[in-house]
Symmetry: D2
């Protein structure tokens, strides 16, 4: 059930609706929009009777929702969500660039990359302190020491920190040190983790699972939002197919699909999406042209020595070239495209 308030509804009207939802034992999700406020109801086992709400002052409509998702949908919030991450935003008119090394390795590497990133239009820095590795014997990340280093990067360069957590303890730590909690592709359907991160109050960057359908991806976001954290940024990072010329197959058509169905921003990750250095720039350009709200890019000062995914990392020079090219496309598209 979705309660849409009238444009002239007062704060009192809204609170009265919320009160009734809570009295019925359900959970209200308030989404203030530009013109009007909508309130989603979750926690109900079956259908909710619209009669509870229809005649209240300030209520325009009580809409029964039959789609599997509610909180992500444009029915609830017709305008695009602009998510605040640290002192910047993702989902607004400006292209959001998140750049940095795949894994944090040592201070020298981290600061030399951060310095290059700070010279570009990027406002966000990435770098993994906890690394999901296919083999238990591969480098697993620097842990909390890495997170402290990221906090130093923020202090020194004014970049907002986006970094992955793989379990509850990791989420607590990233919440403490970072600005945005990344949930990786392999955990996209780790429902316990989604619920846990839904209870934090830091924005979440949710990566699409390797074989997730659009619906599964959106419902994973819905899991987070159903717990009360509405600041979810989606990220396409390539899907698994029979193809071998790239590490994954980037599915850019999901960008217009997401924009059609939801109010959430979506960014793309051409580094993991291709796994090939020479493809990152062209696919980043394509991602901006298709309408993505941002990019997440791996940069390493010495890609050939990276402890993780070196084959796909850009050098600082290559990265600055990319940032230049995508800006040009973004600028010419702003007036013409959606």
């Amino acid at each position: 059930m979705l309660i849409v308030m009238k444009a002239d509804a007062t704060q009192n009207d809204v609170e009265r609706v919320i009160g009734i939802i809570e009295k019925l034992g359900f959970r209200p999700h308030t989404m203030p929009g530009a013109a009007r406020t909508a309130i989603g109801i979750t926690g109900n086992a079956g259908a909710v009777d619209p009669a509870h709400f229809e005649n209240l002052t300030g209520v325009a409509e009580a809409i029964r929702v039959t789609k599997p998702y509610k909180l992500i949908s444009k029915d609830l919030r017709p305008e695009k969500s602009v998510i605040k991450v640290g002192n910047a935003v993702i989902g607004g008119n400006e292209l959001a660039i998140i750049a940095g090394p795949c894994a944090l390795e040592n201070a020298k590497q981290v600061f030399s990359v951060a310095e290059a990133v700070s010279r570009s239009s990027a406002k966000f820095f990435r770098g993994g302190a906890f690394k999901p590795r296919t083999s238990p014997y591969a480098f697993q990340g620097m842990g909390e020491d890495g997170l402290k280093m990221l906090a130093d990067v923020r202090d020194q360069f004014g970049l907002n920190i986006v970094t992955e957590a793989m379990d509850e303890r990791g989420i607590d730590l990233v919440e403490k040190y970072g600005d945005c909690i990344q949930i990786g592709a392999r955990n996209m359907q780790n429902f316990s983790l989604l619920k846990y991160v839904g209870q934090t109050r830091k924005p979440v960057l949710l990566k699409r699972g390797m074989s997730a359908t659009l619906d599964e991806f959106l419902l994973a976001a819905e899991y987070i939002m159903a717990e009360g954290n509405y600041d979810v940024i989606l990220c396409e990072r390539g899907i698994r197919t029979f193809g071998t010329h790239a590490r994954n197959t980037m599915d850019l058509s999901i960008v217009p699909a997401v924009h059609r169905l939801t109010h959430l921003p979506i960014i793309i990750d051409p580094s993991h999406g291709t796994g090939r250095n020479y493809m990152v720039n062209p696919m980043a350009r394509a991602g901006v042209a298709v309408g993505a709200d941002g990019l997440i890019i791996e940069v390493h000062s010495q890609p050939e020595e990276a402890l993780c995914d070196g084959a796909q990392a850009l050098t600082p020079t290559q990265y600055l070239e990319l940032a230049e090219q995508v800006k040009v496309i973004h600028d010419v598209l702003m007036p013409v495209a959606v």
Copy 2:
């Protein structure tokens, strides 16, 4: 590094090798075999010098391992592992059948299915108390109450309990009430969870992820074993492809591949693997014929009323028919096939 002991090595010889491994700061994994014992070494960043071991009494060989996995490999343990689950085994000469409802719903349902299962050759009962559901608004399982019900089933019918856990708290509970901890497909690369379950001492049923390669699947098992829990049973449950006539595409060729590379048993799940009631029996027969060590089958007294995955559950009658047919195939194959 793999230390293979001589056939006549004494317990003292083995312990001396273990002591040296630990003194070097590494982790020993002892695998007693029918003819000889092998000791795997993990925790080393680079190569270990074989000179530490080659001249010790009782050591036959110190083998450098270049494959990404060690503990699952036949190099470490040439004989098949027979895993004890409650009072029965998986991986032995007998076909292991695990049957029961997808989700636990209520006592009436659970006991009526358990009664039917107890009349077959199955020695294991399944039933989900924690359900990984694509939507946050779908039935999420009975939780601990369900686990208590499963413990009652064991007491009453003598069936060993296999049930899924989705997070650390769930693992603690399943360890308490059940006989085997199932890790679902969506958590196959939830590395934190794999490490946690690797520290328990209950056997683990590890389901293949929807888009996991053989290597990724085996390395997920390696994650569990690297923590010291060697009782891992693999399970093929269908992969995600373009096909639509079944819910997933069962990849039966993984069974001979697993048997060729590892000493671990592998079972198949034709219920989730097909998602279609009428395909479960034929695919169960195929699984036994290809050489699987067991089956996991969904049975529901009233499939049309199931809260979860009713379309694929067998009625008790259909299940007993299946159990009959697979037994016939298993019996004729035992003398001829691998």
Copy 3:
């Protein structure tokens, strides 16, 4: 439109219906069944008025067909089709085994394999004279000389010949020398070729395309049948997925799906389906257990010297072992399974 005749309809009644269909400018397809005859109508752009037929003597029903296929469907012919291939059949109670080398190379190879095949229960010999090769520079087959050799195999060993054609000229030649025309996976949607082979009067073995859905596969068979050739045998040979442990992923669940929807027989090809010698026998057993009507198996006297696909060919000894094992499964299943 499907015209179902009464059980006691005379040949005259049938011919009268056929005459009316032809007078309306459409094409009749007569399918005599055990109990009654059905007549499919194709060639109509829109719906056909049932009033043309309903009141004719001998007509039981005129059924409007809304599925995309007609001639393959069980509505038209409820009994399974048993296809005559040379002096034997595929689709009957006996398991049909087609065995032989991938590519024909020379007389010595062909006759030594044929001799081994003739000692098994196989009644069909395979061997490619025209080879669809990914590279234009790979061995393309012996052409007509190979076909003559196959005719000699038939004369000498009494085996019926199944061999692939890739174009119209090839179809003419295979029709002349062989007993069954194979259409390969890469040509499954070569619609011009399907129409051409539909005009021959030799049975057709149609392999599933690498990424064909069930519907596309069945409609390819429908293309052949719509031209008047109803003797189509389907063949599952593995689909393309992300998996790498086998060359393709065999989709055995298509066997019960085909048997549910159509009256056509379906066999499986574990040699191409896996591309791995050691998987062929287990997957052949699985194919028989799932209910396939037959097998097509590559045998080579010296697999390591094969000009094509040697990695998957069985030696004669391995092949005879396989034939033994699948017979045992087929024998025990005949009384119990579908």
Copy 4:
């Protein structure tokens, strides 16, 4: 074997090399480049002895080729091939746009779309006279009448004609009436057809098969070129994956991969690639941004009444908007990108 001539080699030098190749019983393929000429050799079963060529006047190098393809490779021709199609080119500095209806239906439809296309920067008109349809009962195209209509479009609007052929007879007709012969995705590995079209002298637009790897795609082009027709334009049209939000998954990363390995131009088909009207424009923009040499777009005056693939066709207005947007991106990229 690849013979690379010196920059100052004379026409006589080149002809002498060709003569020797032919005398050895092989086939020469001359590729004049900007700076120097290279001559590929095909038709050899094993390795060719470089001694035949190394000491001839004008020969710079004789390179042994170990990759599976030769004629498409940049070793043979380092500069990009610019393919002449009618009175325009594909692969040059200008973005090539091919637009028109999926299937030709009638003169009114064809001319109204052609009029709209002629008002854009497109120099090529598409429209299917022979349609590969999954069902034998679906509209199969207008045949030769449609081709005559296309010839009229060329006369009236000066647009060059690109249209599909499905068999040898179709190729003969398209060669007669059209400017570029399209080979569809389903025929990408119809090797007999590839050889046949390789013997024509009209350029070929080769679409990637639904589950073709990059290597298979390139080798299909090599099949055509090995017959002497070097004017091949590649086309990415989406691959088959588990995804359902679009009809296919467009694999844009193949564009930089093709440009890295070959001298052939590659265009993209966002209409078939997505199957969704609202995705065509964003994916067309992405295709241009990633570096494609052109686009092929379906336009229909009344998409809702189209006999084929209406859901993906753009209206003339939508198409003109797309043409505008991609031009803007192409223009800003020309100076910066590859």
